[in-house]
Symmetry: C2
Subunit: 316 residues, 2 copies
Amino acid sequence: MSGTNVLALSGGVGGAKLALGLTHLLPSDSLTVVANTGDDFTHLGLQICPDIDTVIYTLSDLADKERGWGRASETWNFISAMGRLGGEDWFHLGDGDLAMHVYRTERLAAGDTLSEVTSDVALQLGIGARVVPMTDDTVATVVKTPTGELSFQHYFVRDRCEPTVSGFRFEGIEAAAPSPGLAASLNGNLDAILITPSNPFVSIDPILSLSGVGDAISAAPAPVVAVSPIVGGVAIKGPAAKMMAELGMPTEAREVARFYEGLIDGFVIDRRDEDQAPAIEAIGMAVWVTDTVMNDLEDRITLARECCRFAEELAA
Amino acid sequence: MSGTNVLALSGGVGGAKLALGLTHLLPSDSLTVVANTGDDFTHLGLQICPDIDTVIYTLSDLADKERGWGRASETWNFISAMGRLGGEDWFHLGDGDLAMHVYRTERLAAGDTLSEVTSDVALQLGIGARVVPMTDDTVATVVKTPTGELSFQHYFVRDRCEPTVSGFRFEGIEAAAPSPGLAASLNGNLDAILITPSNPFVSIDPILSLSGVGDAISAAPAPVVAVSPIVGGVAIKGPAAKMMAELGMPTEAREVARFYEGLIDGFVIDRRDEDQAPAIEAIGMAVWVTDTVMNDLEDRITLARECCRFAEELAA
């Protein structure tokens, strides 16, 4: 895959796993991973960017593989002491993880951009791929529910995704510019654009909704390939399937394909959803059937390779 | 000692130990401990108040008794991760301790005063005594050295007190007002003012240098008693003796008495310095000889009791 330039759109866990697979296939200077920042929030005075951090920790092999977020071998003295002081302790910040938030908050306060801080941290942790935030501006995903709106982390962590979802909006999206790294990648010589199996509504859609980004991806000469986060009717991780059901969508891979209609050229589905291939092809996109569940590093590399092969085939 | 109102001036370790002894003698509503804030600094974007925290941790029994600062059973994942990210890691912030700095920084940013935050934290941790900062304004102790000035924590922690000291100044002291709690205590019905065996130059002098505070203490009808931090020619903890030598002062208890001349009515010295009593009395103050080294809780209570008896005797 030498010389192949790939842009991967990522949320947290699923996106980070596929990105890790890609780093094992591609030369480090040919991969750009753009992370959703709609989940970002200021908490306890700290600027927290969950998706950037999951990507960074995964690519630097610091991630906790069981938990799915935060760092391995983590301790929790900070958040326990915070509760004892009467502070908010519903968002579990690990002691080591906290260094990221404190470091970032200090640098942002000093006038550095999120792109600069992210790039420096990635370099410091030995990550070769470019990891870029979707924007250096503030965008906040808001979850609409029948009883009112919730900020994303209140919905996701504090309320454990329990409220029924009726829609989403991305506060600040109109005024937000794509980050320099995202813009450079879109304007560069791309061989493939991969939409990782992160949550379509709250991880990928914020990136696509940035000014010009969805259009640039639709119009890109490079093939655009998405991987279904829905396998066998359920989401591998997170609330994607629950959200689909609440939004009145059948929880099937083909519904995700329909969500990306007009944007992508090919859709990767799991073998157990092979029967949906004709319906997806009928939407007007190619389908690639493979094993999409990434349990170990080997799975991640294999899925990354399959995606690249699919893109090559689409480009041919 | 019921009904006795005591104001104790404190820096870090030595002051906190004596304050703890006092809490075992006095009804909780009759003790005010005013902590030096000249050591405070903003580090990694966090507002750090070492002396307030040492007092708070000591009075709430959270302090590490061996190390002399920070919390017991502490972990260090944060500062280790910070170093890995390329951030500053010379100031060792423990994981549990960090909750205090993050909580305080957030509340101060929201517009609360340092007095309010300190009072709430003390209450939350079950401390009965009033713990108050010397001021809610910013005062920064600057250490003068032959090669230039150093901020206090750079001198104290980063440079391990190695630079030679030629003097001190307290930046912002002219504009700083005594905190409401300190002012209320000084204006109230005090039975004793205790200057704990904290560093005279960098822990006690900032408090005394606040507008009106030195004068109010000198003029107070209540007896003012100080405890020598120098015992047998050395400082029990910290750089007091080294500073004295560098400032051209003999490192003896009587030199500390001379430093407080005109301010205090009585000076408490250790038995091993009993031979200095006549010289100290010649300055114009009473002397009380006892065991002043506080190794355990019993020592702290005993020294607190001796100080109160001395004050009672002076008031008689």
